[in-house]
């Protein structure tokens, strides 16, 4: 099936926007329209609110939106990971129930994978789900759950069979976060934010139909979620450009979007800083005059080499994928590259700041942004799979090196485990 040409797509989408886009609409009303039109998520399948477009056509669509200052579907948080997982493993009923409200922003999602005893070793989850009549009953604890305090749905990995080997006793559920059996406690982070949480399940319930995939096949479903998460961390900038930056953002819809940004998107305000804010590095060096220092120039150059090479590597991976070529090694490297970039950026920001790098808040450089960079970068090489785990994956899957020796075979019941702990929360 051949794709439409880019120029015809641009004409179609801009025509559609001219007759439909209206900044005085409500955010929800507009996004529902978008979902029905297929222009909100053109990379999705035609059966589910999309148009099966390739990345380059999607980019064209996004640019047309930006030109008119039109707001897109909700994309923040892990909602698109949830959607990708449901598109691949969910039933028609799941897709009908969840996909639209993911895109309109009415529902918010969190990822309930990591636990106190199992982070890198996700398959070691000990949160349990037991079938009781028409529902699953969940008990246990999840940790580091970003946005659990805003979420009404959670992607839950839980153990349903203790006698099967580790990876074969897990199942994957969608759990309603707004119920008495779910207790969400925010956790303070080293950078002062509290975007992740600990989540306690005490006889929480999952309706029987909210099992995703088959019983005991939860690991495969979780791998889909993780694959999308790691791909997203590959350093590619989002397709959104600032073409429409000069458009005056006035109207009811923009106000409602601002509210969304200030509430459910609040946990992510520091995410650009954790990636290192490479965009700020050059302008800070120029504006402060620190560019006159040859050491600053050297380190800045190293950073720019690293970050542009990482971006071009991601583009190579994307181009190969678009051409239907077998995925080369470049596709698995993005997350590890992002850690290197973030660390190099933190080093450059420190160099530029000099003594000011000791200060934070309004005393700190760039009104505290630099301090936030320095204190947020350590998360990049942990969240979403640590650097060590990425290196294991690259070595084993790409370089075909031998797998790690395992001590966790046999029935999960007999595998050595951690003793569970409760962390002091934000308020303690």
């Amino acid at each position: 099936m051949s794709e439409p040409s880019e120029s015809s797509v641009r004409a179609d989408v801009s025509g559609w926007l001219e007759s439909n886009w209206d900044p005085d609409l409500g955010l929800n009303e507009w996004r529902n329209k978008l979902v029905d039109s297929g222009w909100g998520m053109p990379e999705w399948p035609t059966d589910w609110f999309g148009r099966d477009f390739s990345a380059s056509l999607v980019r064209a669509v996004e640019q047309e939106f930006a030109k008119q200052g039109a707001i897109g579907v909700a994309r923040g948080g892990i909602r698109l990971l949830a959607a990708a997982t449901l598109l691949e493993h969910g039933s028609t009923a799941h897709k009908e129930q969840f996909l639209r409200r993911i895109l309109t922003g009415e529902d918010n999602w969190c990822q309930l994978f990591s636990e106190p005893g199992s982070g890198s070793d996700l398959a070691g989850a000990t949160t349990r789900a037991d079938l009781d009549g028409d529902q699953w009953v969940v008990n246990g604890q999840k940790l580091w759950t970003t946005s659990a305090h805003h979420a009404n749905w959670g992607l839950l990995l839980a153990r349903t069979d203790w006698d099967a080997p580790k990876h074969e006793g897990l199942s994957y559920f969608v759990i309603d976060m707004r119920q008495p059996g779910v207790d969400v406690q925010p956790l303070a982070q080293m950078n002062g934010h509290a975007s992740f949480n600990q989540v306690f399940f005490d006889d929480a319930v999952v309706e029987r139909g909210h099992l995703i995939g088959e019983i005991g096949k939860g690991w495969q479903v979780a791998m889909t979620t993780l694959a999308h998460e790691r791909r997203r961390a590959d350093g590619l900038r989002s397709g959104y450009s600032d073409v429409g930056a000069d458009i005056e953002r006035v109207g009811r819809i923009y106000d409602e979007e601002q509210v969304e940004t200030a509430t459910v998107m609040e946990p992510y305000t520091w995410y650009p800083q954790r990636a290192g804010r490479v965009d700020l590095a050059l302008s800070r060096a120029l504006d402060s005059g620190r560019i006159e220092d040859p050491t600053v120039r050297q380190e800045l150059a190293k950073l720019l080499i690293l970050s542009s090479s990482a971006e071009w590597t991601a583009r190579r991976a994307r181009a190969a994928q678009q051409m239907g070529k077998p995925q080369g090694p470049e596709g698995s490297l993005g997350k590890l590259a992002a850690s290197h970039v973030a660390r190099a950026a933190a080093r450059v920001h420190t160099l530029i700041s000099g003594a000011d790098a000791m200060l934070a808040g309004s005393d700190g450089a760039e009104d505290g942004i630099v301090a936030e960079i320095l204190l947020s970068v350590p998360a990049v090489s942990i969240a979403g799979g640590t650097d060590e785990i990425q290196r294991n994956i690259i070595a084993e899957r790409v370089l075909q090196m031998p797998k790690e020796t395992r001590f966790d075979k046999g029935p999960f019941r007999d595998v050595p485990k951690n003793v569970s702990t409760r962390l002091a929360g934000e308020n303690e």
Partner: protein
Amino acid sequence: MVWPPMVSAQFHFTEEQDQFRDMVRRFLVDTSPTTEVRRLMQTDAGYDAAVWQRLARELGLTGLTIEEKHGGAGFGMVDVCIAMEEMGRALLCAPFLASSVLAAHAIALVASEEDAGRLLPSIAAGEVIATLAITEPDGRPGVDAIALPAERTGDGFVLDGRKHFVLDGCSADVLLVAARSPGSTGSDGLSLFEVAPDAAGVTRRALTTLDPTRKQASIEFDGVQARLLGRVDEAGPGLVRTLDIAAIALANEMVGGAARLLEDTLAYTKIRMQFGRSIASFQAIKHRCAEMLLQVELAKSAAYYAAEAMDAESDEATYLASLAKAGASEAYLHTAIEAIQLHGGIGFTFDQDTHLWFKRAKSSEVMFGDPAWHRERMMQALIVKERASSEAQMGQPA
């Protein structure tokens, strides 16, 4: 802010380019195994004339980017870089970089149409080996460092001084010499001259190189009559471009070498047994190999992108050439160091092949400017651009 520079890059090779790569790779597997590399590195010429002829006749590589009207194939920078990458993998010993890249581009960019028509066809055919003598004994890279004076005499020019680090300088049939009008500085006052190696006053001496797979010479010019190519004092921009092209080509050669080292090292770790298991099963080794892969792929991306930018005649080509050269230099050397380490004691022997690439990595790191020099150069290019764009913005009504 325009960053990173965007050129209309494809980020992939065409099917024809993939086939071209396969063809070059197969040819080099046959003609440049390490037994040949070891044989040739002991010779004075440092290359095999018969293989060079086949490279010219069967593959058309010697004239790859030379225009068709001058007997070449008229291909672009991306294609040269594919060839260079493969040559780097195979550690080919041949005057390709000197003759088909440096000299061919210097002539095409600086010489008159008439001189190009006279010189390029025999270079394209592989019949004549030319080289560019640009760097001097102080070793400073870039055209600003060219000091050798060209004195005007009656109807010609006379060269006096020394060129050093001349690639394949002892085997070249034609010497292209970059020289300066007395009193000029920077990229002004530069001219390109043609000198026959047997002209009166030319003395060539082979330099003892750390990397024996690439030959270099020191050439003394003592009152040598030289033939001007192109216009007097106007060679600067063409030479800058030539060096950018050479840096990009070399960056691609380096990533080819680095990728090969990684592959060979990986294969070795899988068969070497210690403590009852292959050393590839140790996590310390797995993680280092994963990092090597990352470094190699990042450097590849920059080297490929710079080649595409050169073909697109991007005005960011200088910035990108330096970026690619600095990135590839670090990645190649890092890979070479790791490769020796992961081979253990055998890696330090002369009989094992890793050191051949290690030496190429070391000399390539410094050739045409070391990574620190290129990082400085890319920053200066960026600063000029940023200042220009902020001045342009300030000039605009708010």
